[in-house]
């Protein structure tokens, strides 16, 4: 299986999952990494069985490039909050771009940056998504092994809450702190709650979750629902659009 690992606007954190599983990759006769700029100097940009794409689309050049990658790949997997939702950089989508720009740069040297940072699914069709900021390497393994077996990968669709209960972690909402667990896809293993902080949603929203009810609860408790989502790395996720952001 020919794998390509690609990077768009991102922190490189998700690609690192491939370094985590490098020992297994080295030992597997089925996997061939044919394009992975961060790992190798020998890259063949040709056709791919699977393209793992990290990063959001935030320039016109990236729009072109993701389309080209789609054309060359049988399967496209979006990995990480950047690729799936637009990432933390999509926080700018909710503000004034010129202003945000000017907070970072004095000069105006470039014209090519899009005001909005968007998920790759806004531009091309995506076969599978692996959520998280960063992704969990185990889910990458599940994707690869499933594709090798020609079966559907098992990707979590249950909320963080289920993992909290499995681990006997007391519910933070009940104990009085804000937590996005009920509307956030598990995959981290209830990491933040296990470390005594509310989930900030880095794995992103569950499709069809009851956002309204949680919003009401936040309001009742005096927590700021919208703000927590906006700093949660998945604010621009398609599931939020049209529901939370009307």
């Amino acid at each position: 299986m020919k794998i390509g690992v690609f990077k768009f606007s991102s922190c490189d954190g998700c690609q690192l999952a491939f370094f985590d599983i490098a020992p297994e990759i080295i030992n597997s006769e089925y996997i061939e990494i044919s394009y992975f700029l961060e790992a190798t100097s020998f890259n063949i940009y040709d056709r791919f069985d699977v393209a793992f794409v990290e990063g959001s689309i935030s320039t016109r050049e990236e729009e072109e490039r993701i389309k080209d990658i789609r054309d060359r790949s049988k399967i496209v997997v979006a990995i990480g909050a950047c690729a799936v939702s637009g990432g933390i950089q999509s926080a700018r989508n909710f503000g004034n771009f010129e202003e945000i720009y000017s907070f970072t740069y004095r000069e105006n040297y470039f014209k090519d940056i899009n005001p909005l940072s968007k998920p790759i699914s806004d531009f091309v069709s995506v076969d599978y998504t692996v959520r998280g900021c960063p992704v969990n390497a185990e889910e990458i393994i599940e994707i690869i092994t499933s594709l090798l077996l020609n079966k559907t990968p098992h990707i979590n669709e249950s909320p963080v809450c289920i993992e909290c209960k499995r681990k006997s972690i007391p519910c933070l909402l009940v104990m009085g702190s804000p937590c996005l667990g009920p509307i956030t896809v598990d995959g981290c293993g209830a990491l933040c709650p296990s470390l005594n902080r509310g989930c900030y949603g880095c794995f992103g929203p569950i499709k069809g979750a009851n956002f309204e009810s949680l919003r009401d609860l936040f309001k009742e408790r005096g927590f700021n629902f919208e703000e927590l989502i906006k700093t949660g790395f998945n604010a621009y996720n398609p599931y939020f659009r049209g529901v939370i952001w009307r």
């Binding site: 990759i25 006769e29 809450c161 007391p170 909402l173 509307i183 009851n210």
Partner: protein
């Protein structure tokens, strides 16, 4: 039945003898909640603490009127009898031949301080996993090798409604010994041979005639603290007739489908089977993982979820606990422990909702 009166020091001795022989699980205060945990020292039992619980609310405070001042812990025994994730089988592939290795990993557990609701929950789980044409060996093995110290509750919380759910305060529900705290001493009733053997190890004086009435008093006094009541008369048929009620939609609007209620419930048993494969395609590990009827993938047929709406899923949960279960196993699936009420972030209260549905 043998009865003894123990002082707190003797209780501690009993505790340590059990601990020597078994993997001991007992309640303790951890992460701000009282929960069952392994390897707890006697001094770390939550004596003198009590919970304040109500729908979507939990806090712990101190009180000093007795030792067993708290109520049942946050988690339940299913955490140990059928843990959240169990690797039950390893499949290896060599060329195209498969070999199977079945795992039976179990501990010799003792549970110190199990309340009657949780004991009854085990009775209910037994019906699922043991009284089955194909008994679950994992569960059965743990169950047959465990030792249970039951404790009578002294006070109910605002979410407890065990009395409504057919609990029998006379019954030992399979505990090996049962403890009732009476005026800071402990009446120990020995219910099984196993229990007898243990108590023979500490030198104790047999209890004479006195405390039996006292025990009744304690239980009667406890019962007066149960505020929550559910009318269960003819409940199954009434609920069956409400299956089309528009009220389910109302509940669907509030419920987060977060699965919490099912996971904290001591009798909810649903699980999923998952495969985890190695990248070299040679090994596939198979797991039991706790599942929940609130999960969107729970009832999919051909990738289409039969319980598409949250209201469908909430109905499944409540109907199962309060009605279906009776057809399936001859009991309610709910023992009235109130955990699902406390731990529902949006304060959905199964007792209130069931009552509402029946009154509708």
């Amino acid at each position: 039945m043998e009865r003894y009166i123990l002082t707190i020091d003797q209780l501690e001795e009993l505790y340590s003898i059990i601990k020597d022989e078994y993997k001991l699980i007992s309640p303790t205060l951890k992460d701000g909640v009282i929960q069952y945990s392994q390897n707890i020292d006697f001094k770390d039992l939550p004596f003198g603490y009590t919970q304040m619980e109500s729908a979507g609310f939990y806090t712990v405070k101190t009180t000093d009127d007795c030792y067993f001042s708290y109520i049942r812990p946050y988690n339940s025994l299913k955490q140990f009898l059928r843990p959240p994730k169990v690797n039950f089988m390893t499949v290896r592939r060599i060329d195209n031949n498969l070999t199977f290795e079945y795992h039976l990993k179990y501990e010799k557990y003792a549970f110190f301080d199990v309340r009657r609701c949780d004991l009854k929950a085990l009775y209910i789980l037994d019906k699922v996993f043991i009284e089955n044409k194909y008994p679950d060996i994992q569960y059965k093995t743990v169950r047959e090798n465990m030792f249970i110290v039951g404790v009578n509750c002294l006070k109910a919380s605002d979410v407890c409604f065990c009395e409504s759910m057919d609990i029998n305060f006379e019954e030992g529900y399979g505990a090996d010994i049962f403890i009732t705290e009476i005026d800071k001493n402990f009446l120990v009733e020995v219910l099984t041979e196993k229990g007898k053997n243990f108590l023979n190890k500490i030198k104790l004086k047999k209890q004479q005639s006195m405390n039996l009435n006292k025990k009744e008093e304690v239980i009667e006094k406890f019962k007066t603290t149960i505020k929550k009541k559910l009318n269960t008369e003819n409940l199954k048929d009434i609920l069956y007739s409400k299956i089309d009620s528009p009220y389910w939609e109302e509940l669907g609007k509030r419920c987060l489908s977060c699965t919490s209620c099912t996971q904290v419930c001591p009798t909810c048993f649903c699980f999923d089977i998952r495969e985890e494969n190695s990248l070299d395609m040679k090994v596939s590990e198979r797991y039991f993982v706790w599942d929940s009827c609130f999960n969107q993938t729970f009832a999919t047929v051909h990738k289409f979820n039969l319980r598409e709406k949250i209201s469908h899923r909430y109905r499944q949960w409540l109907m199962h606990k309060m009605a279906y279960w009776q057809d399936q196993f001859g009991t309610f699936g709910c023992i009235g422990c109130g955990r699902c009420i406390t731990w529902c972030p949006v304060k959905i209260d199964i007792q209130i909702e069931t009552q509402k549905l029946r009154d509708l």
